[in-house]
Symmetry: C2
Subunit: 230 residues, 2 copies
DNA sequence: ACATCTATTATGTATGCACATAATAACGTC
DNA sequence: GACGTTATTATGTGCATACATAATAGATGT
């Protein structure tokens, strides 16, 4: 297909006009039919280009009201949240894993509320992930075995909960939070660093149909960072 | 249009089959034409549904090879990176801002390499952002005035660089990194907290056509976090 | 002035068709 | 069997058309 009317070409041209202020933030842009005429292509093609830009947050579209340049183009950064083992291997390091503790208990109210359930006994796992035999991340996880009964019979010293859950308990919704937390005495012991260090921390909760599957706090060793292209 | 053959319906049905293990990770799924026949719709419609799922990372598609369920569905988390002022206001707090220092100098090699340019004089701004008059974030920013000449004449004590740049210097590519850093003595002074605290830190570089516009390190007050739904 | 209904309009989506493209499979030659 | 070539196939995309839907603007009635 001639590249000059591909939807990508149109997308890029529209993007250019916004960037070069030919179309200013807040202003309406011509409707799809007019643009189709201008670019010499079908409206479908323009539609796809504009839809892609709206998904990126550059444009705002409303039926009848038309398409306008977003007033404050909010950059969106998308991060991949891979299985820890894959993340370590992608760094060219050897992934190791050790289960530190596995017991049954009742989580505190904070965990319960994010899992959206009543107090009850759950599986509580604490584990340490290694990269080239050096500490990489420490994980503190609760699993509701009434929602995922199969988890009760898994030997989590052989496979990490991280990995088992991805393969065996898909979720419908979830919440993830990035924060910076002091390492603290317990983790400092395992990390072999100062308890005052700053640890990048990911707190995640996943649910199926509103019922909490698991809640996990992953504290990374000082120096860890997550990055992506914009 | 009858909801039973909308692309969303097909998307949801395919998603369900993957979640319920009717189609297992790594396995090929029927081709678009067959699915179209099964769902009683056009191939275009199936195409759109599958494309959406591939964008989400649930499916992997290759020409001729067909479509298969992703081996390790990598969750993607998308974060909005808003203007700080808007972020604070969204929290229901009053946004304040103060310029701490504005001078000209040459950034160190780390900054230069991420901005992809030779050593040269740039604008260096250090500022403090407040939420309800309490410290919220401290920003250390370099702006290359050879790329954005207009920035040289802006009074950054009146408008934050953050905001001015979004409105006046759109970028084509960029890089963003989240990490946890110790607050340090200088910031502790402004934050009024311990220098040993853990600060969530965002480091961002933006470029136009490969040329670095700005490089900024934003260190948030202890307790700050970023979150999103999965 | 006000509320309510109606017409208009721009985007959203479904369809059938055609052809492009990438990747693999099949085939032939040496 | 190891190669390069060609055929096949599934996805990728473009087009014309039709109709759906949301949101607004305009007309209407009180």
């Amino acid at each position: 297909m001639n590249a000059s009317n591909s939807w990508q070409t149109i997308r890029d041209e529209v993007k250019r006009r916004v960037h070069e202020r030919e179309w200013t933030p807040g202003a309406s842009i011509p409707n799809e039919s007019d643009l189709a005429r201008e670019f010499g292509c079908a409206r479908t093609t323009v539609n796809r280009a504009l839809r892609a830009l709206a998904d990126d947050g550059l444009l705002e579209r409303r039926r009848k009201a038309g398409t306008r340049v977003a007033l404050h183009p909010v950059p969106k950064a998308t991060f991949d949240i891979p299985i820890i083992r894959h993340e370590i291997e992608a760094l060219g390091q050897r992934a190791g894993y050790g289960l530190l503790s596995a017991r049954t208990g009742t989580p505190d109210v904070g965990v319960l509320s994010s899992m959206n359930c009543e107090p009850r006994d759950m599986l509580h796992l604490v584990s340490l992930h290694l990269a080239d035999d050096r500490p990489f991340m420490m994980e503190d996880r609760w699993i509701d075995t009434t929602i995922v009964p199969a988890a009760a019979n898994v030997d989590f010293s052989k496979i990490s909960a991280n990995e088992w859950l991805v393969l065996n308990a898909s979720y419908t919704e979830g919440h993830i939070e990035f924060s910076a937390e002091a390492i603290g005495d317990e983790r400092a012991l395992h990390f072999g660093c100062s308890p005052h260090g700053a640890g990048f921390t990911i707190t995640r909760t996943t649910r199926v149909d509103g019922k909490g599957i698991t809640h996990v706090v992953q504290a990374f060793v000082p120096g860890y960072s997550m990055s992506t292209r914009l």
